[in-house]
Structure formats: structure tokens, C-alpha cells
């Protein structure tokens, strides 16, 4: 098995194993006339200890790809794997366990339970699993996202940026094999957004975490090691070491194509 399916992609070097892989992944919504192909035989690898951004215009299928890879949505055809585990055919219970134990999530909003304080929210996946959190690791994660003084605060007492940092800490705390982030900075001002993205990049660089992020913001994508572009349910480009300008240029191409075709 090869470690790459796309040429010219450089990794950060210290890991080349695949954390998640889609092979001919297809997702179809509806039937007959209302049938919509959201993902059309997509094949992509997400390598360990790499920060991947998924980009594409609205309706390109980027969120669907993430949902399918993360076991949040069912798969119509092809295969999706987290590590060695094939997601197709898994029953809800197994899938739930998989999400609990192997995957971390950061959503655009409503990441936190308002009844729990920051620390309780961070340890929630482990509480669900009935596992004791690794104290030293937890401290390090909390330290990294800079929440040490706010652990006893309820979400309503935290700013939007702080809330997303709690979400990042929660995703990191259980040391999942992979973290999926869905527009994590969508609701934040640019400074808070930059902070959260910085933490995500640091978690990859320093903690060896694997992160896959869906975004439509070229600046956010520039924090990633690699950008995968989707359009009309297909992967159309794969850009290593992106900068915001490069991503913006590439996106302009989509827009132009979208308008002319």
C-alpha cells in the first residue's frame, strides 16, 4: 500500500502513515429526480501528524466528505477508513464508539454543553467512555490552549474565541487518531480565529496530532500543511504548503469557472 495517492505532496517528514482514507467514496442524497450526487467516487488519504484543509465552493461536497469520513453520515458507496477500521457497514453503536474513542470534533458552533464548565466539557468524551483522563496530558493541552485560569467557567461566561479553544482542548484531550474541524473559525473575529488556528497547527507540529479542517477561508487554509480542493463532489486539486494568496488564486479559478460554465 502506498502512502500517497497524489504526486508532489510533501509531508512534514516525521510520519507517513495514513490516519484516514477514502476510496471511491460516494454519497448520494435523495432518489430519482431529486437525486444529488454530493461525493462522486472521491479517493483521498489524510496522513498522520498532518494538518489538512478541505476547501471548495458552496455545495462542492467538502462538508459531506468530512461528515462521511468522521462517521457522522452514512456512505452510499466506496470505502472510508479511520486507521484500520472500515466505516461502511458499521452499526450505529460501533460507529458511536469509534467517534468517541478515535475521533475528535470541533464544530462551527454549539460545541459545548452550557450546563458543564470548561473542564467538564473538555473531559466529556472520556466521561462518556468512562475513562479517567491522563492528568499530565490534560494539563499540557489546557496549557497549550491557554485556558488554565478559566476551567471553572461555564460556556456562557466565556468569549466566542475562548469557547472554541475549549472545543479544541476537548478534541485534543482524548488523544484521538484524527480531529475533524468543521469551519472552526466561522463564527470568530479574525484575532480569535488566528489563535484557534494557531493551536490547531501547534497540535500537529508539537503534539503530532492529525487534523482535517473544512473551511472556506483562504487565510484559515494557509495554516494547513496541505489543501485539498473539492468541486462538484470531486477532488480537483491538492496543494502542499499553501499560502493564503495561492489558495485565493486557486479559489478565484473556481469562481470564474462557475460563472462561465
Amino acid at each position: 500500500m502506498t502512502t500517497t495517492t497524489h504526486s508532489g505532496v510533501s509531508t512534514t517528514g516525521h510520519a507517513t502513515a495514513v490516519a484516514a482514507r477514502a476510496t471511491d467514496l460516494t454519497k448520494v442524497y435523495g432518489q430519482g429526480e431529486t437525486k444529488v450526487v454530493a461525493l462522486d467516487a472521491v479517493s483521498v488519504d489524510f496522513r498522520q501528524a498532518q494538518f489538512t484543509a478541505i476547501m471548495g465552493p458552496s455545495g462542492s461536497g467538502k462538508s459531506t466528505l468530512m461528515h462521511c469520513m468522521a462517521g457522522l453520515d452514512t456512505i452510499s458507496g466506496g470505502s472510508a477508513r479511520i486507521g484500520d477500521i472500515e466505516l461502511t457497514g458499521l452499526k450505529d453503536k460501533k460507529l458511536t464508539q469509534l467517534r468517541r474513542d478515535k475521533i475528535g470534533f470541533i464544530f462551527q458552533a454549539f460545541n459545548l454543553l452550557p450546563t458543564l464548565n470548561a473542564l467538564e466539557n473538555i473531559t466529556l468524551p472520556m466521561d462518556i467512555a468512562g475513562r479517567k483522563p491522563d492528568r499530565a496530558w490534560l494539563d499540557r493541552v489546557v496549557e497549550t490552549v491557554g485556558l488554565a485560569g478559566r476551567l471553572k467557567h461555564r460556556p456562557s461566561e466565556l468569549s466566542g474565541g475562548q469557547q472554541q479553544r475549549v472545543a479544541v482542548a476537548r478534541a485534543l484531550a482524548s488523544r484521538p487518531e484524527i480531529i475533524f474541524a468543521d469551519e472552526p473559525t466561522g463564527n470568530l473575529d479574525s484575532r480569535s480565529g488566528a489563535e484557534v488556528l494557531g493551536f490547531l497547527r501547534n497540535s500537529v507540529r508539537e503534539l503530532g496530532q492529525t487534523v482535517v479542517m473544512v473551511t472556506h477561508d483562504p487565510v484559515a487554509a494557509s495554516y494547513a500543511d496541505r489543501v485539498v480542493f473539492l468541486a462538484d463532489g470531486r477532488i480537483v486539486d491538492d496543494m502542499p504548503n499553501p499560502t493564503a494568496d495561492m489558495v485565493l488564486e486557486r479559489m478565484k479559478g473556481f469562481d470564474a469557472k462557475g460563472r462561465t460554465s
Binding site: L72, K93, R100, I128
Partner: protein, 844 residues
Amino acid sequence: MFRTALRNVLAHKARLLMTVLAVMLGVAFVSGTLVFTSTISDAYQASSQKGYDNVDVAISPRSQDSHSGAPGAVPRLDQKLLDKAAKVPGAASATGTVSGFTAIADKKGELIGDGFSTLGGNYFPGKDGQDARYPMRGGTAPKGPHEFALDAHTADKAGYKVGDTVRISVDGPVREQKLTGIFTTDDGTVAAGGSLALFDTPTAQKLFATPGGFSEIDVKAAAGTSQTALKSAIDKVLPKDGAEATTGKQLADEQAKGIAQSMDGMKNGLLAFAGIALFVGIFIIANTFTMLVAQRTKELALLRAVGASRRQVTRSVLLEAFVVGAVAAVAGLAAGIGIGAGLRALMSSTGATVPDGPLVIEPSTVLASLLVGIVVTVLAAWLPGRRAAKIPPVAAMNSVHATATTKSLVVRNTIGALFAGAGAAGVLVATGMDDGKVVMGGGAVLLLIGVFVLTPLLSRPLIALASPVLRAFGIAGSLARQNAVRNPRRTAATASALMVGLTLITGLTVIAGSVQKGIDKMATDSLKADYVVSMASHTPLSPDVAKKIAGLGEVTASSPLRNSPSRIGTDTAYLTGVNGKDFGKLTRLDFTKGSLGELRGDRAVVDDVTAKEKGWQPGSRIPVTYEDGKKGTLTVSGVYQGNQMINGIVLDNATLAPHQKQITDMQVMVKTAGGPTDATKDSLVKALGKNPAISIADKQDVSDGIAKMFNLMLNMLYGLLAMAVIVAVLGVINTLAMSVFERSQEIGMLRAIGLDRRGIKRMVRLESLVISLFGGVLGIGLGVFFGWAAGELIGGSLSTYELVLPWGRMGIFLAMAALVGVLAALWPARRAARLNMLAAIKAE
């Protein structure tokens, strides 16, 4: 704005379902009660009208002025008067009637019926030899002292045929009578499931009245003579003081009025329970609209932003409530009419025959039901409507969820504490008062309101108590606990709805249990006798019974209890005659002054209440006028604490008997050598000729009888309060379903990060359980307090009263609250577990 309101109702119809159901149940209760009572009332009135078809004028004895002459004497109507009445111009015929208690034994020798509705009367043949009131279905009319006729309903039930010999009893001794005829009748007692036996007139007169006497004479008018004309003709032949005539119409009207009155009582009782159910419904309606308004904050703010005034916003919410109330009221009315019809069918199927008649749905019933449903709903939505108007227009633009302010809880808690404190103080003060009913009632209402207001405050500490248990359920348990206290007001309103029902149920159970114990104690503690012998109907026994018992070998002591009216000064007082020699061996009376000694001659003992009232002391001399008009003097030898069985002036039968016209015993107390055993009872039963009309009860039987009465009453109350509990269950379902809807994003997130469906279900179920148990604990606690307080009041008039806490039942009530929680969560938990997590996460 009306269109907006209507659209909102339609858009939220699933979320309004429980509210509609709650209002509907309350309205159905109201309209069902109204339909049922007016139907039954009309049917009874029609049947009573029919009962007087053969009566144009009734002559009945007039009781004499009790201030003169012999006390308590009832004049009798005789054959002479009957003949005179029959010959009055305009009279077609006259019927003399007598009636009284008659027990009929079934083939096993047991009494048919309950003793109160087993009647006997006379067959009074008219000119054609038939009695128009009782058409014979088979056989012939009874003749002579050894024959009788029986109503068809009873005969069929017991399997008796013409020619059978049946054991019957009127005042004690068993009579074996030949059944000569079976008749049909529309007599009200028989229609209601009683029995009626007929004898020929002389036999009936001997059994029920005095020979030759009647208890009523019914005169039928000849064609063309009006009732009033006949009445004035009859008035002329009546003796001055002894009798009075009434027209059939008057009698029917009076009876109709009586029926209407008793139906009103029943109606008001039922409506009170319907009111409780509606009151519980208010919490649910208020909760629903509060949640709807909160969920629609942006929408309402947008309305305000585009120019709707505050009043228009409030009105749109109220309009929505109006539509909901109207729909629920109409559905409730329909259901209520069904309940009314069903109840009557149920009653006739259980044997309590109700006279036939059309289903009566009065316009007032329709109006009242609709009004109640709409007014209750709109009133309950008032506060949420006002809150909706306070939403600032800028909230439409605000994407950040504004957290509910908690500062108003401080005001709320202060008010609640004041109410609850004042209420509790009122109740406590009332327990020390002689006549504290009003103070206690007011205090109870204040306390209840106070607790309603305070429930949000109480929810945190009380629910925190459950956290050690909840922690055993892992993360689902602790999330459930936090969800339960998350919106204290909503939790409080939901729990309060359940609390109302449980407070009443527990309070009534405590009171009933305690009073039962008290009465039981009073009845059995004061009694040394092993058995109490009485008629099943509580009508007087023949003195032969006491004589027969006294003659039995195993009987060591026995005494009849006799009542005789007398006059002391200007008051009528009943004298109780006993066997003075044995009285001390049969009773255990507490003497506060003097002693029982031996009752004989002019010696008498008096209960403490009478003694206090009259200022009698041991040694006081009481001048009495006996039943026969003779005067005498009694000397008080002791003052005892009266009870249900024995009170008033007690003296020796030897002193009383010479003054009595007719000697009958209310009951006979019996002490036997062997104590109460089955063998002793058997020999008593045998000695009294296996009489179906006589009940021989030992202390246990007396206790059981009392317990049965209380249980019956409690079960009825439980049944009526069940509606309030059902409405409360709807409330719990409602709150949970709406909470699940409100928290769908959270639930989606929890599912995404790894809580499985079972965990979600468990979380919702535990929240429901916690809220229900919270309501249950509050309700049971308040119920016990009210039960205790009311008991303190009752204790003043029932000296043997003693607080009984029904731990077993309280445990059942708490378990019931838990069950309510589990059941109510079934549907919301399923919904929560089935939520599409992607849709939930993405939705904003």
C-alpha cells in the same frame, strides 16, 4: 396578527399537542360531569313523575308539635279515614299503603341486597281485585300471613319461582313465606337494584305499622276532577291535627327538587375535581407558551423590528392561546359528552339500574365547557404573552443567545418565602384553635401558593440530593441532573403540576387513615362485648332476639340498646335503655365524674357533652317526661366520655320499659364464655334461626366494616384525582419533548462526540425521573403536613384520633411518581435518540 397567530399554531401543532390534550381532559371532565348529572337528573325526575301517576292526592300523618303531649308519637292513618277519603266527591279510588324493611334470603340463606334498599309493602287490591301499581307477571296476589309476592328483578336474581318457600325477616325472627306471585314495578328502589316484597294488607300492617293502620293513603281522582279540587275535598274530612293532604304534583315536584339538590351536590363535588385537573393544566399551558415564546425570540423581535407594537405581540400570543383553547375545548366537549353517555351505560351495566332517558346536553353545558377551556388557556398564556412583548427588536439581529436573567428569582423567592411562612404559621396556629377551619384553610392556600412560588428555588438543593444516585448512571446521570436544574422555572412548573395531585392524595390518605383508626378505636375500645347483634338495615330488632340470646348457655352477659324519646324541659332527648345488670361487663366507658355503679331504678349515667351543656353533676336530678307522657325523675350517678355507639342518657331497661308503647332494640351486645370464635358465632347464628336480616359482628367485623367504608371513599377520591395526575403526566411529557427540541443541537453534539443512543435515552429518562420525584417528594411532604394539621383539628372532636402515617401507601405514591417519570419519558427519549445529529449540528 390573527393570521400570524393561526400560522404559529399550525406550525407548532406537534409541540402544542400535549397542551391541547391537557386542556381537553380538563374540559372533558367538566362537560362529562355536566352531561352526566343533567341526564341522570332528568331521568330520575321523569321516573319520579311516573311514580306519582297513580297518586292525585296523598294523605300522610302529620307529626305533632313536640312541645306538648307525648314526645315523638306518630299518629297513624286508619281504615276509617281510608273509607272516608274514598267516598269524597271526585275520588275514584283510595289506596292505603304501609312499608318497611324486609330482608329476603337467597337460596344459601344470605341476605339479598345491602340492607338499605330491601323493602316490603302491601298489596292493595282495587275494585277489580288487582293492584294497579304492581302488575303480576306470574302467580297470584298474596293472601294471609304466610304468603308474599316478590318483584321480578329480585326473583330472577335469586332464582325463585312461584310456589317456592322463602326465608324472610322483617324485625328479627325468620318467617318462612310462600311465594305466590312475581310482579313487575317501576318503583324507584327496585329500579336502583333493591328488592320489594309484598304482603296482603293486614299482614303488612301488622309487620310495618299497627294493625289497621296505614303509613300513607293515596287517592286517585275521578275523570274530570283536578288534583287541587280533590285535595280541598279531602282536607274537609281529615282530622284536625293528625294528617295532611298533598297533591301528587306537589309530591312529584318536591321529589324532583330533592333529586335536583342531590344531583347538584354530586355535580359540585365532581366539578371541584375537574377544577383541580384544570388548575394542574394551567402549569402545562404556561410552560408551553413560555417555551414557545423563548424559542421564537428572534421571530418576535423581527415582528417588533418591522413595526409591531408590544400590545400586538402580546395579543398574537394570546390569540394563539385562544385558538389552542378553542380547539381543545371543542374536543373536550365532544369527549365529555362521550364520557357522560359512557358513564350511564357503565352504571346500568354494573347493576345500579338508572332510569332510561335521553342524553341531555344543555346549552349551558356547551357554553360552560367552551368558556372554561378558552379562559383557562388564555389566562395561563397571559404571563408568557407579556414576556414576549418585552423582547427588544434588536434581539432579531443578535446571533448570540441571551441567557435568561436570574435576578427576578430573588424577588420571586422573597415573595414565596413570605407566603409559605405566613401560610405555615396560619396552619400551625389553627391546629391550636378550637374552631380553626377558616384559618387553616386560608393558611393551607397561602402555603401552597408559597410553595408553588418557591419550587424553582427548592429544585436545586432537592435535586442535588439525588446526585449520588444519579452518579451511578455515569455521564448520563450527571447530565440529567444538570438538565433538570437548568431551567428552574420550567422544572418547577412541571413538578408543581404533579405536586398538586400528590398533595391531595397524600393528605386525604393521611386524614382517612387517622380518622379510621380513631373511629375504629372508639368503636372497639369502649366495647367489652364479643359480639354486637343488629339488623342488617340498622332498623330496630324484635325484643325476642335479646331474649333468645340471654337464654343461651355460652352467653355470660348481654344487653339490648333501646332508644326512647323523652322530653327534658322543652328539649326532646333520647333515652338509651340497657340491661343495667350487665352493662358494665359489656362496655368500657371512661367516667370523668362519678361512676357507673349498678344502673337500676332512677339511676342514670350521662355523657360529658350533654352533662356540660346542662350543667349536670353526679347527684343531679333530672325531671323527664317519658314517651307515654308520664313524668319521672332520674338521678345522675356518673358522667362518661361519649362515643359513637353509646352516648346520651343511659338507664336501666326495667325503668324505661313500662313507658314504651312498642319495645324494639337497636342492637344487642353479647359477651360469651369462650370469646369470639367461629364456633360461638355459629351457635349464635343458629340460635337466631339463620336469619338473613340479622348481622352478628365481632370487633374485627366492626373494624373491617369501618375500614371498608373508608377504603371505598378513598378509592373514589383516588379515581377522581387520577385525572389531575394524568394531566400532570402530560405536563412532564410536554416539558421533556420541548426540552429535547430545544436542546437538539446539544444532543447532536453529544451523539457526535460519542454518546450512544442508549446514553441519550437514559439521560432524558433520568431527567424525567428526577423532575417527577421532585414533584412527588414535595407533594407527599405537603400532603403529610396538611394531613397532620387537619388531623389536629379533627382531634378536637374525635377524642381517640391518632395520627397514622401510611408509610406503605406513601412508598407506593413515590413509586408512582417515579413511574410517571419513566412513562412520560418514553416518547421524548425515543425522539431524542432518533435525532439526526447532522441536521441538529448544522441547524442554527
